[in-house]
């Protein structure tokens, strides 16, 4: 595609929330005034040192940051190429990177005087993080989750309920993450006067893709400093899985202008790209859904198609708008991993490193298994281990037992 290269890959979006043609504010009028308020509140918070200081306090003592950058020695030996480091986001409180963003949004909601928080969730990681911080700050919490996901991510449903959140299984449409987001938007339109919508990924109407990215950029900023400390230089490549793409954007964004760093995003190829999958960039095209223009899976009439991934967190027919732009300008390479590849990576990491990854980052590990052997031993590769696999143990156990029979 013929798109001019920008001077910086980090300057977006423009004042209307566009990354190239992507992004924007495609929402019902009822929500527009609130979205404009949110933008103002976020701009003010960013400029307020007290906001940052309070966030840093919670990030250190409640979330447990910084998360380690860990040299995966046995995985490196096994693959026989690049030196692989894992950014251990799965060690955060609540077990994934989601908490970084939720903390920021809950602090914003408090500044805006909102007492009721709603969220959508796929794998339940964002729902758990939201329920956790609502418990911590005494806020009402309602989580929308597709009925299919409620079924396959039971441990997280139980956690959310223990934390005092109300979980609504969404029965409309495909009963997964996309429908949970529709239902959350319907709740928001209805309760706009007292409700803050805590979006879990770098998607939705402006300013959400930007503020979620900013809250997640702590991943990349820490990685940069930690790599400097242990290796004295920048990494050579970054790899992260992508559903909406918040863990990936958080790792990638601080490195976008470091041209020596190769960047790989890994979408979920489900049963394979010619069958049911969730790889919006590989198998979709630009369209408008959930408040933004971005790559979407859809039919010839613009109707949104069902996504499929073994991982509930990647099972979404879209992707954050900034990823769509980074794809079109060619700064990030978007790859995809199938369900079977992710399952193999899940097992490999568990056995070699004693770390059970969530099925989402198992997709990233799957591509590391392809990329690392082709690179020299002094190549430094960072993988975002965005979540831990406890929630997937029952599902993977069932699949593996079924397969071994």
């Amino acid at each position: 595609m013929n798109i001019a290269k920008p001077n910086s890959y980090r300057s977006g979006p423009d004042e209307r929330g566009h990354f190239g043609i992507f992004g924007g504010r495609f929402v019902a009028e009822t929500l527009m005034p609130l979205i404009l308020d949110l933008e103002k509140a976020y701009t003010a918070a960013k400029a307020d040192p007290a906001f940052q200081a309070e966030m840093n306090g919670y990030l250190k003592n409640y979330v447990g940051r910084p998360s380690p950058l860990y040299f995966a020695e046995r995985l490196t030996e096994h693959l026989g190429g690049a030196k692989i480091y894992l950014k251990r986001e799965e060690l955060n409180h609540t077990g994934s990177h989601k908490v970084n963003n939720v903390l920021g949004q809950i602090m914003l909601a408090r500044r805006m005087g909102k007492k009721r928080i709603i969220a959508e969730t796929g794998a339940g990681q964002h729902g758990v993080a939201t329920a956790t911080l609502c418990a911590r700050f005494g806020l009402e919490c309602v989580v929308y989750m597709g009925a299919v996901d409620v079924e396959r991510q039971q441990p997280n449903v139980i956690r959310m309920e223990m934390l005092g959140a109300k979980v609504f299984p969404v029965q409309s449409g495909t009963r997964t993450l996309k429908d949970a987001m529709n239902e959350a938007l319907r709740d928001w339109v209805t309760n706009v006067h007292n409700t803050f919508y805590c979006i879990g990924t770098v998607a939705g109407p402006h300013p959400y893709p930007t503020l979620v990215r900013d809250f997640q950029s702590i991943i990349g900023n820490e990685t940069k400093a930690q790599m400097q400390e242990v290796e004295g230089r920048l990494p050579d490549s970054l790899v992260a899985c992508i559903g909406g793409g918040s863990n990936a954007m958080g790792l990638f964004h601080p490195f976008l202008d470091d041209s020596s760093v190769e960047i790989f995003g890994v979408e979920a190829a489900g049963h394979g790209l010619t069958q049911l999958h969730a790889a919006s960039i590989a198998g979709g095209r630009p369209g408008v859904l959930h408040g933004n223009r971005t790559y979407l899976l859809m039919d010839a009439d613009g109707q949104i198609q069902d996504a499929h991934s073994i991982s509930a967190g990647l099972d979404y027919p879209g992707i954050g708008p900034e990823h769509s732009w980074l794809h079109e300008v060619g700064r990030v390479n978007y790859l995809s991993a199938t369900d079977d590849e992710a399952l193999a990576a899940f097992q490999l990491l568990s056995k070699l490193e004693g770390i059970i990854p969530a099925l989402e980052p198992a997709h990233a590990i799957a591509k590391v298994m392809e990329l690392a052997p082709k690179r020299p031993k002094d190549h430094l590769m960072v993988v975002n281990l965005s979540g831990r696999g406890d929630k997937d143990v029952p599902q993977v156990g069932d699949i593996l037992r079924g397969k071994s029979k």
């Binding site: 209307r16 924007g24 504010r25 495609f26 929402v27 019902a28 009028e29 009822t30 929500l31 527009m32 005034p33 609130l34 409309s172 449409g173 996309k178 429908d179 529709n182 938007l185 319907r186 339109v189 209805t190 309760n191 706009v192 006067h193 369209g287 408008v288 859904l289 959930h290 408040g291 223009r293 979407l296 859809m298 010839a300 009439d301 613009g302 109707q303 949104i304």
Partner: protein, 278 residues
């Protein structure tokens, strides 16, 4: 440019009565029945027809209209077939204003310029696109106005006086006041609150103001008709249609009449209203 919408509201103003606006989903429950329903609406007393464009992810609609959209998609309704339905309707009716209502993605994928040209030749008069606020006017609103179509904007209880001028700036045809913060078919509109809101919007525009979301009965339609230039009923008609279907969701001999009879009753409600003072 004068559209059928402008002409119709001018006539109604002369007659001193409020408009009755009906919403049905294109292709629900099948294309032939849907055409027959649309044809029956003006005869039953509808002054303006809103025709829904089915979409998989209607984020501002309640369960009834979501289900109507899925019924329409299941039998293969597309935006192209929706426009053909309008063209077929226009063979017998060249006066009743027809507005397409829906979400942006099917139009974006069809291609904005091609869509506007095809909509105009099919006999569409205006568009209501839920997920295109004034901030995105370059996408479709401005091109639609240039193509000679009305772009009807939604104003809501959250649209305050400061924001109203921006919302009204490129609006034409009429203003659609969403009477509740919420989704279609959810709550009942309060006629007094609606009256205040209509008066507030009237201070900013000379356009007719129609009120929708939460109007289900002839009594409610009459109460709103006394406060506004028009009342919109959608979910109640879609529910009447659904209740006439067989167990497999197919049309029966009762389907067209079920919608026409409720339309007639609602139209009577609107026509019984004392017109609000200008």
């Amino acid at each position: 440019m004068t559209t059928r919408i402008d002409t119709r509201f001018a006539e109604l103003k002369k007659q001193g009565r409020s408009a009755f606006v009906t919403y049905v989903m294109a292709g629900d429950p099948d294309l032939t029945t849907s055409l027959n329903i649309v044809k029956a609406l003006p005869k039953a007393g509808a002054d303006v027809i809103e025709l829904g464009i089915p979409f998989t992810d209607p984020m501002a609609d309640g369960p009834s209209i979501q289900a109507a959209g899925l019924r329409a998609l299941k039998i293969g309704t597309t935006l192209k077939k929706t426009l053909e339905l309008v063209r077929d309707f226009r063979k017998d009716d060249d006066v009743t204003p027809l507005v397409l209502m829906g979400y942006y993605n099917p139009i974006y994928i069809y291609g904005v310029d091609k869509f506007l040209a095809d909509a105009k030749t099919s006999g569409v008069d205006g568009l209501i696109i839920v997920d295109l606020p004034p901030e995105e006017d370059d996408e479709l609103c401005i091109p639609a106005l240039k193509a000679g179509l009305n772009f009807i904007r939604l104003a809501t209880p959250t649209t305050d006086d400061k924001r109203l001028p921006a919302v009204l700036a490129n609006t034409s045809g009429f203003v659609y006041y969403v009477s509740i913060a919420g989704i279609t078919g959810a709550a009942a509109a309060d006629a007094n609150a609606v009256g205040e809101a209509v008066a507030r919007i009237k201070r900013h525009t000379k356009l007719p103001i129609c009120v929708g979301f939460g109007i289900r009965t002839p009594e409610a339609a009459r109460a709103i008709a006394e406060k506004a230039d028009g009342s919109v009923v959608g979910t109640a008609l879609v529910d009447a249609l659904k209740n006439s279907l067989d167990a497999e969701g197919r049309a029966t001999a009762k389907t067209v009449n079920a919608v026409a009879e409720l339309t007639a009753a609602l139209a009577q409600g609107v026509k019984g209203a004392r017109q609000a003072a200008e």
